[in-house]
């Protein structure tokens, strides 16, 4: 079997078979994480640069662990204190790193299209998207898919409700692609001012969160950012919480076995209640664990093997 993709930009180009290949590979990686010596030499000698121009501890750490568990050498580049803070362009930064001998670049940036830009500018290093603006966050979608798949066994025919700021969410977009591809019905909910005008091209929209989660097996709460309220896109945190916050009562409308997911970090009391967040229906910690395994699987698929690239 050959992994056809050269770069990881978004899950929209993955076939259903591709998605399951990643999931199966992640199961193997979970086994590695359970060993006393959490390391295999699969990527020994490969160098991966984590270029995170947007702050992120969780995703970067998750990638870093994944890279290290596979014995790759890791460089971390974050925006503050680096040459980019001194005004060096993205292009120059990436080329400098590549010139130092890097096999892959994991990049997070707030500009949409950053992975395509780097692919164009670099000379063959593999580019993996850790989040570009509001467009895509493929590794998050894959770890979400993996978490749900491990929990339920099979996903086809199930329903998922994504609640929150869809407009600005790369997590929502990538999740919608990934879950729809495996046959999950995805419904989005949230204030209309926080969904794209043409949301229907992405997923079904239901303004009432209780109707949206009806019969849902997975309720996915997105993080609400304070800046959006400051921009005037919705009136207050309080009103958001009252209308769309995920609490026990809202969950009672979902399926009896419904689980709650969140990309983290959680705003307790805003989009999700502490009771729900700490309850046993909440898979947030599983998501975190899955994150390392899924990223290991992706690193392995993209960087090991493949002849000479």
């Amino acid at each position: 079997m050959a992994w056809k993709h050269r770069h990881l930009v978004d899950v929209d180009v993955f076939s259903e078979e591709d998605l399951y290949t990643v999931l199966e590979e992640a199961v193997r990686m979970e086994e590695v994480m359970k060993r006393p010596l959490k390391k295999v030499p699969a990527l020994r000698g490969k160098v991966v640069a984590n270029m995170f121009f947007e702050p992120s501890t969780r995703t970067r750490t998750s990638f870093e662990l994944a890279e290290k568990f596979l014995s790759a050498d890791v460089i971390n580049w974050s925006s503050s204190g680096s040459s980019t803070a001194k005004g060096e362009s993205l292009e120059d930064t990436a080329k400098t790193i590549e010139a130092m001998g890097v096999d892959a670049v994991v990049v997070r940036n707030k500009q949409v299209g950053t992975p395509e830009y780097l692919i164009k500018k670099l000379n063959g290093a593999c580019v993996m998207n850790a989040g570009d603006g509001a467009r895509a966050h493929p590794t998050q979608a894959l770890l979400d898919l993996y978490t749900a798949w491990r929990h339920f066994g099979s996903l086809r025919g199930r329903k998922m409700a994504i609640v929150g700021d869809i407009l600005h969410s790369r997590v929502a977009r990538s999740d919608i692609y990934a879950f729809s591809k495996v046959g999950v019905q995805v419904v989005v909910s949230g204030p209309r001012s926080l969904v794209p005008l043409h949301v229907f091209d992405l997923a079904e929209y239901e303004p009432d969160v209780r109707k949206a989660v009806k019969g849902a097996d997975m309720v996915y709460a997105l993080r609400i950012q304070r800046e959006r309220q400051e921009e005037g896109l919705f009136p207050s945190i309080d009103e958001y919480h009252n209308q769309w916050g995920i609490n026990e009562e809202v969950l009672s409308h979902a399926s009896k076995e419904a689980v709650v997911m969140h990309p983290g970090p959680m705003n307790r009391g805003v989009e999700i209640d502490s009771f729900v967040a700490d309850g046993d229906r909440c898979l947030v910690l599983d998501q975190v664990k899955s994150g390392v395994a899924v990223r290991m699987a992706l690193l392995f698929l993209y960087l090991a093997g493949g002849g000479d690239r």
Partner: protein, 179 residues
């Protein structure tokens, strides 16, 4: 792929495996503090059969694990295709134990080398023994088997195919020409 010769049919294979199981017991001096680890994929099924023979001979149930060596291959970066990674599950501590590595075919020795590295990352066995169903020669590393089912001399343009009923629907060993 063209069949060149049948080395063993299912009955002969069963007899050979039984003999191997007893040879292993002999070399171990019993089944205490010893475990079997089958190398994915067919080594796993062989290791199960060896365990079953040892158990039915009254020597107790040996721990049996499975090991996928893909991550430890020395030729990962040269492969054109992605190898399928199968499960690794060694649900016991191997430190201080005698580990019997089981594989279907011993060829260049590189797979066993990788398996040894993997085992070393998982613990510190007291000793490691190697049991293979077929030794087809052409070693590229100084690896020797302790228990062999059959030595089958082959040329480099041939392949030795071991069939197990769990995967292939039948048992047997054949030599085929590489196309």
């Amino acid at each position: 792929m063209r069949l060149k010769a049948v080395v063993m049919d299912d009955k002969e294979m069963d007899l050979t495996i039984r003999r191997m199981a007893h040879e292993i017991l002999e070399k171990l001096g019993g089944a205490q503090d010893a475990v079997l680890v089958g190398i994915q994929r067919r080594g796993v099924y062989l290791s199960h059969r060896i365990r079953d023979v040892i158990k039915s001979s009254g020597y107790g149930e040996m721990g049996c694990g499975e090991l996928d060596i893909t991550f430890y291959r020395d030729d990962l970066s040269m492969m054109a295709d992605h190898p399928m990674v199968h499960s690794t599950s060694i649900p016991f501590d191997i430190t201080g134990k005698d580990v019997v590595l089981v594989d279907d075919v011993l060829f260049t020795g590189r797979t066993v080398r990788a398996a040894l590295d993997a085992l070393m990352d998982m613990g510190r066995p007291r000793r490691v023994l190697l049991a293979v169903l077929v030794d087809r020669g052409h070693r590229e590393l100084p690896i020797h088997p302790d228990v062999v089912g059959r030595v089958v001399p082959t040329s480099r343009d041939e392949l030795v195919e071991v069939y197990v009923r769990e995967l292939d629907g039948r048992d047997g060993i054949s030599i085929v020409a590489k196309e």
